[in-house]
């Protein structure tokens, strides 16, 4: 019984985190003319989350069209992914933020869930 209680305490004490680098990414010339690319890395330490949505936004948080392998990335618990993001050169000055947002599954008990979003900024 004591062991069970200790296990429950330890499990309930676990924290789950979402991490993204770099803070200030830079656009670089892509392999195609007129296309710029940057790379962000996401680390998933949330075992309640398996998918992250990527977005590129301007100063007013309007979405900017971009291309990536997947806009919703599946990331298993304790794994990381490097994501290449491509935009048209003419959008370079408009693009202000690149963000990743956790996607929460429906269901569960009467609770609040935490949706996390981290945004890097182009300077």
């Amino acid at each position: 019984m004591k062991r069970l209680l200790l296990t429950l305490l330890l499990v309930s004490g676990f924290a789950y985190s979402h991490e993204q680098v770099p803070t200030y990414p830079k656009w670089e010339r892509g392999i195609y003319p007129g296309v710029l690319t940057t790379t962000i890395e996401i680390f998933n330490k949330r075992n309640d989350v398996e998918f992250y949505e990527i977005g590129v936004f301007d100063k007013e948080w309007n979405p900017i069209y971009f291309v990536a392998d997947y806009k919703v990335v599946q990331l298993k618990y304790l794994s990381s992914a490097s994501i290449d993001i491509f935009i048209a050169r003419e959008n370079r000055d408009r693009a202000e933020y690149v963000c990743s947002r956790s996607k929460i599954r429906k269901g569960g008990d009467a609770r609040t869930a935490v949706s996390s979003r981290i945004c890097s900024r182009f300077k």
């Binding site: 929460i104 609040t112 935490v114 949706s115 981290i118």
Partner: protein, 166 residues
């Protein structure tokens, strides 16, 4: 014979020198980490109220922000204003919610976070001016209109925790 012995000894010493100098490389990057310490639970003190207030059987949502670069990030935390999943409800829901700093790793550098925060509706915005960890607690209460009872079922609402580079 002596020459061979010298060559062997020199080779061995060269090998040992190599094995003693294996480098471990690492890069430290500035970053923001959002950690869910407690997801939060709604208590049901009466038929028409769901609340995270501990005195009513609920549990506050607690989120920790770790930053490794000062003056580089804003923390924006938004209390729920709708259910992300719930049974069909017979009336409209009134929402209240608030976020406060609950703990910090650097009382000197982070002591002014709560007084300097900007509140915009359900969203509280903090300027993370110091490096280290800050814990934020978010309360949420949902009240069903006309004092009608919440139907039985599962209810989930999302607290949005955002870390935005400045």
């Amino acid at each position: 014979m002596l020459r061979n012995a010298i060559v062997v000894v020199m080779s061995l010493s060269a090998l040992s020198a190599h094995s003693a100098e294996v480098p471990i490389n690492g890069t430290v990057q500035s970053r923001c980490i959002i950690t869910t310490d407690t997801a939060g639970v709604y208590g049901n003190p009466n038929a028409y109220t769901l609340t995270t207030t501990p005195a009513d059987g609920g549990q506050l949502a607690v989120v920790r922000f770790d930053v490794s670069l000062a003056d580089a990030y804003y923390a924006q935390i938004t209390a729920p204003s709708s259910f992300s999943s719930s049974p069909t409800l017979p009336d409209t829901v009134t929402w209240t919610g608030d976020t406060e700093v609950s703990a910090m790793s650097d009382a000197t550098g982070m002591g002014s976070y709560e007084t300097n925060k900007v509140e915009l509706g359900m969203m509280d915005k903090y300027d993370l001016t110091a490096t280290g960890s800050t814990w934020f607690k978010t309360s949420s209460t949902a009240t069903l209109g006309g004092s009608r009872a919440f139907p039985g079922g599962n209810y989930t609402a999302l607290v949005e925790a955002e870390c935005i580079a400045q």
